[in-house]
């Protein structure tokens, strides 16, 4: 197969051709704006990917014919007419990093005194975490149906009204640097279901550890990144 290209200062036209008895036949053609690419190699990569996406051009490239509209100086060609700005010196990075584990339990308490039951159960869990010296950074508590959407900005009814509610749901989430602590969090609860404040349902927290990822948005010098950029195609092997 043959690649033919007409490289201009603002646009580049590319064709993929196959040989025929009499000459060549175009299989695929695309036109790209130069400004969208950092160099001809990027543009060529994109063209081949676009061809591949349409299942065209699986054979080897035997020849490339590049027409460039500008004066030649050794192995360089000067193109004119391109407009735009040089790329900035920095690239934006959104980096994730491993930052501990969480495990959570959500359960509901029923009328009467659902609010007091929820408070007593949570106090018991806090005490257990302390007594068993379970390493953790925080025990996060919220009440779905009451304040999980707006946190401290959601006005709660007074305790009497809360205790008169049909049910109060409590979500407890442990944040810990140790996976084993997260794995064991659910085990603090089964005995409470039998001997603690009567709960309704929803408890299903024995094995739900998940890893937490911090996020670090920052900038990095383009020159540190671009020389190492490698593009892999997820083609036939994927």
């Amino acid at each position: 197969m043959i690649i033919a290209a007409d490289v201009g200062g603002t646009k580049t036209l590319l064709q993929l051709l196959e040989r025929t008895d009499g000459g060549a036949r175009a299989l695929f053609e695309r036109r790209y704006a130069d400004a969208a690419f950092g160099g001809f190699d990027e543009l060529l990569t994109r063209f081949l990917a676009d061809a591949r996406a349409q299942a065209i051009g699986s054979g080897d490239i035997e020849t490339a014919v590049l027409g460039v509209a500008g004066p030649v100086d050794g192995d360089r060609v000067r193109l004119t007419g391109a407009r735009g700005q040089a790329p900035g010196p920095m690239l934006k990075v959104v980096a994730g990093y491993r930052d501990g584990f969480k495990a959570e339990v959500t359960w509901g308490f029923s009328w009467p005194d659902a609010w007091d039951k929820a408070q007593a159960a949570t106090a018991t869990i806090r005490q257990l975490l302390q007594d068993k010296r379970i390493p953790h950074d925080e025990l996060f508590v919220e009440y779905p149906g009451l304040n999980s959407a707006h946190g401290a900005l959601a006005p709660l009814p007074d305790a009497a009204a809360l205790n008169a509610m049909n049910e109060v749901w409590t979500r407890l989430v442990l944040r810990t640097p140790e996976k084993s602590a997260a794995d064991g969090f659910g085990r603090l609860f089964p005995w409470l279901a039998l001997s603690g404040p009567a709960y309704t349902c929803g408890f299903n927290g024995l094995h739900n550890t998940s890893e937490l990822l911090g996020i670090w948005p920052t900038l990095i010098a383009r020159a540190l990144v671009e020389p190492g950029v490698k593009v892999d195609f997820l083609g036939d092997k994927a």
Binding site: A149, L153, L213
Partner: protein, 128 residues
């Protein structure tokens, strides 16, 4: 002239979501009369004070008069980012509703105008 305190929900709608550890808010008026009230009353300082009891982060604000909107960014609002936030609303999507709880003071005439001026519809519906 008599003034009234109203939550933003009376004259505005909003969207919010995560930008790393920041929550990004779009606060939209329904019409120009409402936008003038938002622009006058809803400053970065007011938004910061509103969230301070819960999320005491810095707030930046931008005006987008061409779409009758204000944009706010509340920093440090997501426990370090969506993927380490323990809240059920880990991406801060429900926080737009919390912004609409913010109360502002307007005259009765201003409120009347904001409520009674037809809503601007960007997609060709209901434009008066």
């Amino acid at each position: 002239m008599t003034s009234v305190r109203i939550p933003l929900a009376r004259i505005a709608h909003a969207r919010s979501g995560d930008k790393a550890d920041w929550v990004d808010f779009g606060l939209f008026a329904w019409n120009l009369a409402g936008y003038r009230l938002l622009e006058r009353e809803v400053t970065a300082a007011r938004v910061r004070a509103h969230f301070a009891p819960w999320l005491p982060g810095e707030v930046d604000a931008w005006a987008l008069p061409n779409i009758l909107a204000l944009k706010f960014v509340l920093r440090g609002a997501l426990q370090g980012g969506g993927a380490r936030n323990l809240r059920l609303d880990n991406l801060g999507k429900a926080m737009a509703g919390a912004l609409l709880r913010l109360e502002i003071e307007v005259t009765e005439a201003e409120l009347e105008e904001a409520l009674n001026t037809p809503r601007v519809a960007w997609w060709g519906e209901g434009v008066a």
